[in-house]
């Protein structure tokens, strides 16, 4: 029931926002997002205080009976963490738009809330068909956000993004239908329920599992994205309005990594043994490859886009190594990456708003003009390069640990991101913030209060969960353990 409400609140809010106009739409959107955040925190406390209370947490009603489709949603530790990530980030994303006067604000904010609904649906669905519906539903609002409020060349780039991800999703649908057709062994009753799909998947031969693995993984890999399926990402991140980029990188890409954890690992254990190594290798190549490319980027937004590919590569490799440290590290890193990357994209946005450029070669000397901004920037940067006592370190340490248990060589190779990340992050920070300003005309005034709130909130989270990640691990650890016990 509670989970159902988590989905309904943003949906209702979104419809109301569509009906409003101007600033009222914006305020309602923020209010609704904050209410959803408060509610999700309430759900969190219910979850930890009544761990066995599935009745309150889950919802399961028949939807299309003839095909065994249920509207089944529920929460485990991993899903809850991602729901919390979503409900935490959406208010910040909405707040970050306050400095803009977007056309048709009701549509803009309405779409963000609609997106939130779909994302929470993805993270809570316990029915394969429902999962697919939410998965595709999430694509629609972000498509319009990018298409209507994006930058130069948006029509072409957004179309490519849309078709590319849709292309992958269709393979996933085929894979899911294939699994569905193998359910009901013995009873003859077919079902989309997640546990039935698990059973169906595990009853398949290695070759059948392999086919399913690649079909479903393709969809997830495009969404993350994993090398070499990533080329839609930098263009889309750059052209999308900042809030769109934040939604895409902060939350939406976690649909892919989350999908692998919940909808792939437990379904095809044999295929994982056979093909997991290949997928890990691709992910690790992506880490180093994208890090290298990030080094030579001039547009700061594009630089972060590539750094995000590198980070996600490590997450993907950690998940596919299928051990406690790897998967748990992935869950933790999904949260940290979500928070940090939103911070970094806001910084790119602030730079552009204050100076009219994101080209790191045309910037400089900002450290001297706004000390507060430079400190906040530095903290987020340190989170991103995974300095210990920032949130980024916990996930990264567990991830490298997990990958190491799969293969020491790959861990050492992927671990190069520890060095390369420092190279591109510090180099860009130096060019943007330090030194003298490039021309005397350049000014960099104080931050808008909405920007300040968002950046400070993010910095607090970065340090708080870097020092004391226990609440996150307490949720992730048993959930991952339960999931992995399925694999054996």
């Amino acid at each position: 029931m509670l989970t159902g409400l988590l989905i309904v609140i943003p949906l209702v809010a979104s419809l109301l926002v569509f009906l409003l106009k101007g600033k009222a739409a914006r305020s309602l959107a923020l209010g609704a997002a904050l209410a959803e955040l408060a509610f999700s925190i309430g759900v969190y406390f219910h979850f930890i205080n009544h761990p066995g209370d599935t009745h309150a947490l889950s919802l399961n009603c028949s939807w299309i009976k003839s095909m065994g489709i249920h509207f089944a949603v529920g929460l485990d530790g991993i899903g809850l963490l991602l729901v919390l990530l979503t409900t935490f980030l959406v208010p910040l994303i909405i707040l970050s738009a306050f400095r803009y006067d977007y056309d048709k604000p009701n549509a803009f904010y309405g779409l963000i809330l609609l997106m939130q609904m779909a994302l929470i649906g993805v993270f809570t669905a316990n029915d394969g068909f429902l999962f697919y519906v939410f998965w595709e539903l999430a694509l629609i609002p972000i498509y319009f956000i990018c298409l209507l409020w994006g930058g130069e060349n948006r029509a072409k780039i957004t179309f490519k993004f849309f078709v590319y991800t849709l292309f992958g999703s269709l393979f996933m649908l085929i894979g899911l239908i294939y699994l569905y057709n193998h359910t009901g062994f013995g009873s003859g009753i077919k079902s989309w329920a997640i546990n039935d799909l698990y059973t169906a998947g595990r009853s398949l031969t290695v070759d059948q599992q392999s086919a399913v693995f690649w079909m479903i993984f393709l969809a997830f890999a495009i969404k993350m994205p994993v090398f070499p399926l990533h080329t839609w990402q930098p263009d889309t991140y750059v052209v999308a309005p900042t809030q769109g980029t934040m939604l895409l990188s902060g939350i939406m890409l976690k649909m892919g990594t989350f999908g692998v954890i919940k909808w792939l690992l437990p379904v095809v254990p044999l295929a994982l043994e056979k093909w997991g190594g290949t997928a890990i290798l691709l992910s690790s190549i992506g880490i180093v490859y994208a890090s290298c490319i990030a080094i030579v980027q001039k547009d700061y937004k594009r630089l972060i886009a590539y750094s995000s590919i590198a980070h996600v590569g490590l997450i993907s490799a950690g998940i596919l190594s299928a051990n406690q440290q790897g998967v748990q590290g992935a869950v933790i890193q999904m949260l940290s990456h979500g928070v940090n990357v939103v911070g970094l994209f806001l910084i790119a946005d602030i730079l552009f708003r204050h100076t009219g450029t994101r080209n790191i070669d045309s910037l400089g000397g900002i450290r001297n003009m706004n000390g507060q901004f430079s400190v906040l920037f530095l903290i987020i940067l340190l989170g991103s390069v995974a300095l210990p006592l920032t949130n980024g370190f916990i996930g990264e340490f567990l991830l490298i640990n997990g990958v190491y248990q799969y293969s020491a060589g790959i861990a050492a190779f992927g671990g190069l991101s520890v060095i390369l990340g420092a190279v591109y992050m510090l180099r860009s920070y130096q060019k943007i913030m330090l030194g003298e300003k490039p021309n005397n005309a350049m000014e960099f005034g104080s931050l808008a209060s909405s920007d300040k709130i968002v950046l400070i909130t993010i910095c607090v989270v970065i340090i708080a969960f870097g020092v004391y990640p226990k609440p996150l691990n307490d949720l992730a650890e048993p959930a991952v353990k339960a999931l992995l016990s399925n694999l054996k």
Partner: protein
């Protein structure tokens, strides 16, 4: 007091927070005062706890704070370990840290970033304390990277100067190379022993195979090479002199750079098991000691000379570790902290007097003008050169005696490194304080002794440099080697020398005589003959040019790593990513639209065409069924 040991890192943390949030609004006196007091508080507790530990039978105290990371079998607690090794480092860090904080209130007095400086400095002390106080490898790693961050912030303290920023970034990145090795080492420890707590790991270390232990030890040592500036990861340290001089004294001489030695001593169990690893440590150590010492011969920047000297001395300490002389190396860490901090602060005082000048060619004759600085630096120079009864003599001698026992060749090389040290240090001293003043008139006019806040720390450190040797008097003098005894509970293979007294006396004699000979040589060269370093590189002989240019190692790294990395990155981006991979994606896209527009032409809307096609289709199907 041991129960309160968690306060030791807490005080500087509080100082950091106060200065970080409110420093700008506070007066300089208050800001500096808070920073100093916080470290002083830590020092007092460290001393009291040290006394308590000394009298207590239990030499190892674990203080549990909270569970940090938990992932199934991987449990990492935020715990502190207070034992003989950490207790000693605590004294060095907080004691010398306090003196340097006090010194900085004078040195940085006119700097606009005064409170920012103390913010970073307090944060550094906090992380450095975490590094030595952690009860497991990951807490050490937290401190390890944390001090790296502070080092980065303080090297690039004057952030308007991009050359300084480059140096800061270089330090951070180079340290990260080492850190990756360290991190992998920690993971291998976890995979092998199922824990990363010191107690658990060392108890089981003997069970695992030697090759695994070698791997662990070498991976950890990669981390040590980065932090303690050993070949091949040493080039960041001389550049790090871009930071304010107190930073060079505290971070890049007395404390942070000795973290690698701390780590190896802490992990001595591994190095005792794996001979390969120990031998590697010794070889890297002696190579670094010699290499850096030769570069030091021809440097003209007063801080760079000291920086290469630090690299060289650290090499000597690793040589000691490699031959199993763990407590001797810790002894040298201690005395080195005294005299190198002194020398750097002295150099800072000189620079202060000279209005920012760092080139020894433009100094000279300062001994009458800044007497306290001169006398204290003289004492420091004697100490580092290994003249008895100054502190450096005892610690260096102890290391070299162990080296002699291990290998005569290494001993000879170690002796050469020591002689080079004595030479470049006296060269520095003579060029700076003797002869005629070679700076500008204006500088000469402004020459002045530094304020009390700077000279008092110099005097304290000078006293310690002189008498510090009592901490480790040679055993064959029938004295207690106090440090050796103090550390003995945690050293697996205690390794007292079995050299005869005659041999030890002889070695000592050779060391002292050679040092004196070198000093005499330097004296005749720079005082009697008044030789001055040339002002232009063209006048150097080819080998001198090679050395003066630091063997072109920076250029080598640039061409071997940085430039290829940039090239590869550009190739990845411009060619592989934009052309090949995205080209294929777009190709598939246009192939689909292309086929679509071809097929679209079939949708003519002409019913006759559809009927004909249908009939043709049916005929074809029938044909196929007949054939098959």
């Amino acid at each position: 007091m041991i129960k309160l040991i968690a306060l030791v890192p807490l005080f500087p943390l509080i100082g950091f927070l106060i200065n970080g949030f409110f420093g700008k609004k506070m007066s300089k006196g208050l800001s500096g005062g808070i920073a100093c007091v916080s470290v002083l508080g830590s020092f007092i507790i460290s001393v009291l706890a040290f006394v308590e530990l000394h009298h207590s039978a239990n030499k190892s105290h674990v203080i549990n704070l909270f569970t940090w990371i938990s992932a199934d079998t991987l449990k990492i607690n935020f715990d502190f370990l207070y034992d003989p090794l950490s207790s000693l480092f605590l004294l060095i860090i907080t004691g010398i840290g306090f003196l340097i904080h006090v010194y900085s209130t004078g040195y940085m007095h006119d700097d606009a970033g005064f409170s920012r400086f103390f913010t970073y400095l307090n944060l550094f002390v906090f992380f450095m304390l975490l590094l030595v106080m952690g009860n497991n490898y990951l807490i050490m790693f937290v401190g390890w990277e944390g001090v790296g961050l502070c080092s980065y912030l303080l090297i690039g303290f004057w952030f308007k100067n991009q050359a300084y920023n480059d140096a800061a970034r270089k330090a951070f990145v180079m340290n990260r190379i080492g850190d990756l090795g360290f991190l992998l080492g920690i993971i291998l420890i976890f995979v092998t022993y199922g824990s990363i707590s010191y107690g658990d790991v060392f108890a089981k270390a003997g069970v695992s195979s030697e090759s695994v232990v070698t791997c662990i030890a070498l991976l950890l040592f990669i981390g040590a090479m980065g932090k303690s500036a050993q070949i091949p990861l040493y080039t960041w340290l001389p550049d790090a002199m871009a930071g304010p001089t107190p930073v060079s004294a505290l971070i890049h001489a007395a404390t942070m750079v000795t973290a690698g030695i701390y780590m190896v001593v802490r992990s001595n169990v591994f190095y005792s098991i794996s001979e390969v690893a120990a031998e590697t440590v010794a070889i890297v150590g002696i190579a670094t000691a010699l290499f850096a010492a030769t570069i030091g011969l021809l440097q003209n920047d007063i801080k760079k000379i000291l920086a290469y000297s630090t690299v060289s001395q650290l090499g000597l300490m690793f040589l000691g570790l490699g031959v199993g002389a763990y407590s001797s190396s810790v002894f040298h860490v201690t005395t080195h902290a005294f005299f190198k901090a002194l020398l750097f602060l002295g150099a800072g005082s000189v620079i202060h007097a000279m209005g920012g000048e760092q080139d020894v060619r433009k100094m000279g004759g300062l001994k009458g003008k800044i007497k306290i600085t001169y006398i204290t630096m003289l004492l420091g120079t004697i100490a580092i050169s290994g003249i008895p009864p100054f502190s450096g003599f005892f610690s260096k001698d102890e290391i070299l005696a162990h080296v002699y026992e291990h290998s005569k060749v290494l001993w000879v090389l170690g002796m050469i490194a020591s002689m080079l040290t004595a030479f470049y240090m006296f060269r520095l001293l003579f060029l700076t304080f003797f002869g005629k003043f070679r700076g500008t008139h204006e500088q000469e006019h402004h020459l002045h002794e530094s304020p009390k806040s700077m000279t008092v720390p110099l005097m304290v450190l000078a006293a310690l440099s002189v008498i510090g040797g009592v901490l480790g008097l040679p055993e064959f003098w029938h004295q207690t080697n106090w440090i050796g005894e103090h550390l003995s509970p945690l050293i697996l293979h205690k390794n007292p020398t079995t050299l005869s007294h005659e041999t030890e006396w002889t070695l000592m004699g050779i060391a002292v005589l050679s040092a004196c000979a070198v000093i005499y040589f330097a004296h005749s060269m720079f005082i009697t003959n008044g030789v001055l370093p040339v002002n232009s590189e063209d006048k150097l002989k080819p080998w001198q040019k090679l050395v003066a240019n630091k063997y072109y190692v920076d250029e080598l790294y640039d061409n071997l790593i940085r430039k290829p990395l940039d090239l590869i990155s550009v190739a990845f981006y411009k060619f592989l990513d934009l052309q090949v991979i995205d080209g294929i994606v777009n190709g598939v896209g246009s192939a689909v639209t292309g086929t679509g527009s071809l097929v679209r032409r079939l949708q003519t809307g002409n019913i006759g065409f559809y009927i004909v096609s249908m009939v043709l289709g049916v005929v074809l199907i029938l044909l196929f069924t007949f054939i098959i």
